[in-house]
Amino acid sequence: MLTRRGLPRLHVPLRLLAPAGGFYGLFFVVPLTILIVLSFWTVNAFVIVPEWTLSNYLDAVSSALYGAVFVRTILIGLGTAAVVVPIAYVLAYLMRFVFERRGQFMLDLVLVSMFSGYLVRIYAWRTILGKEGLLNTLLLQMGVISEPITFLIYSNLAVVITLVGLLLPLVLLPIYSSMSNVSREHLEVARDLGSKGVGLHRTILVPMVLPGLGAGFAIAFILSVGDFVIPQMVGGPQGVMVGNLIADQFKGTGANWSEGAAFALILLSCVLVVYLTTTRAVRWVTRW
């Protein structure tokens, strides 16, 4: 930190910040602004009508179909986060405090799996979970089941299984990094004072890594609700999520950009609400 304190403040950091700042401004902020503006306009036969209206939002809110899709999407997002965060917590704990040096290698392995291809893994899960897929074939051959299990694929279960597999490494990262700040001595002191078992986790470790857990939860939720490939590939006809509604408004046959923009903004606000709630909750609990 000392090295940074003494830096010359006059040496135009602006020149260094400008390229990235300009890039973000032009290709991130401006496009998102256009998205917001368009969501309050309408598109008629692929021609943009620049008149301010709430009709896109009203359509989204009043339609029972869209409403159901939104509710399902949020439930899947929360469900995925609720499954993946505890798994990542246990994994981080084992890597940090039980397997120690080998834990570092395990962490590397998990990170490698993160880069084993997005579409590749979704496709592979379809192969594994399918009606004539690997899992069913295996179970049939082993005689565990006599009929293929049909709810493995084209179901909410398949979506969550695939999402958890995809997101686990990303969720593990912040939790593990929070846990790196907890020293073995902290836990030893706690045990010395009589804390053990689940109580040790509940009263000591979980509060200490709460920021990491919050970040993991937010990441899991954001990436789950924003996905459209997974529901399309393994979710089945009933598995439509908001992502599919949005994608269809831009790529599908009945494309309606402004309606898609409105959906995207509703999704973005859900993400924002969940993000703010988790950070507030984490801050509130840790302060206390």
């Binding site: 090295t3 940074r4 830096l7 950091p13 260094l16 910040l17 390229p19 990235a20 700042g21 890039f23 973000y24 290709f27 991130f28 496009p31 998102l32 256009i34 998205l35 798994i87 246990v90 994994l91 120690e100 040096r101 392995l109 998990v110 490698v112 799996s113 880069f115 084993s116 291809g117 997005y118 579409l119 590749v120 893994r121 496709y123 592979a124 899960w125 004539e132 074939t137 295996l138 051959q141 597999g165 686990l168 073995r184 030893e188 040790l200 954001i222 990436l223 924003g226 459209f228 490939v229 992502g243 949005i246 831009f250 790529k251 950009w257 898609g260 923009a261 995207a264 999704l267 993400v271």
Partner: protein
């Protein structure tokens, strides 16, 4: 990881061992890790294994091994087109994202702690917004400019995807960077560009390469933003997506294995480079 991990004998310190030497809990821990690893790597293994099997249908037991799917995939002219585009995008993304990210991180390092924190958080924004959302936003932006979709549009999207990760990597390196070295060089008579090429660049070169490889990996794997911006051009993920929607074809496994291998090589190299500290 701190030194205490090395010095301390495991049996005395490990909290899970508890008061009793709970070897049963240790077994449980191993089982848990094993199940998670299988969960994470099952898709990878399935993809690789089935890219070499003779049966076009996915079934067990495996009947025979073949390289036919690779020949089929590689001999497809669409594949070579997609591959060239993917490589170009990866190189452009790596170079531009690293240039922007390094410059940004050095600029941020010269600010006070508050401004630094705020700008770093802001620079991570694209990672906190679903790719779908800024993918379509970017498409609308180019449409408003009257630009037809294509590789350049996709490249800009890829840079946006990769930049937060480059910033994270470089910034982590700069946390232990001794900035007085730069002043020492300037004090000894070096101009600022000379200082960069003589001192800064050689010292953080491993991290720059690491960040670049990471950016390339993200670019190669990028599908969502690409799909909304690339128009009728092909990249390998877009090609795979097309094949997927047409149904199951074993050449997908071959293509996927190619992607997977290149990603893993890039990420392992990136990881090794980022761990190297001067």
């Amino acid at each position: 990881m701190g030194n205490e991990v090395v010095i301390r004998p495991r049996s005395s310190g490990s909290p899970t061992d508890g008061e009793r030497h709970g070897s049963s809990r240790h077994v449980l821990a191993r089982v848990f890790i094993a199940v998670v690893m299988v969960y994470l790597f099952a898709p990878v293994i399935v993809t690789v294994v089935f890219s070499f099997t003779t049966s076009p249908r996915l079934s067990l037991p495996i009947e025979g091994l073949t390289l036919e799917w690779y020949w089929r995939a590689f001999s497809d002219p669409l594949f070579s087109e997609a591959l060239i585009h993917t490589v170009i995008l990866a190189i452009v993304t790596g170079a531009v994202a690293v240039a922007l990210g390094v410059s940004f991180c050095f600029g941020v390092a010269r600010l006070g702690p508050r401004a630094r924190g705020a700008l770093l958080v802001a620079s991570l924004a694209p990672a906190a917004v679903p790719a779908l959302v800024f993918g379509i936003a970017l498409a609308l932006f180019f449409n408003a400019l009257g630009r037809t979709q294509g590789l350049v549009n996709a490249a800009l999207g890829h840079i946006l995807v990769a930049l937060p990760f480059v910033v994270l990597t470089i910034n982590a390196r700069l946390a232990t960077f001794d900035f007085s070295m730069l002043e020492a060089a300037q004090d000894l008579g070096a101009s600022s560009s000379r200082t960069f090429w003589d001192i800064t660049f050689p010292i953080i070169r491993p991290s720059i390469l690491g960040a670049g490889l990471l950016a390339m990996a993200l670019s190669i794997d990028e599908f969502v933003v690409t799909w909304f911006n690339v128009g009728n051009q092909l990249t390998v993920p877009v090609l795979i997506w097309g094949l997927l929607r047409r149904g199951i074809s074993p050449s997908i496994n071959a293509l996927a294995t190619v992607i997977l291998t290149s990603l893993i090589v890039l990420v392992v190299m990136s990881n090794l480079l980022n761990r190297r500290r001067a």
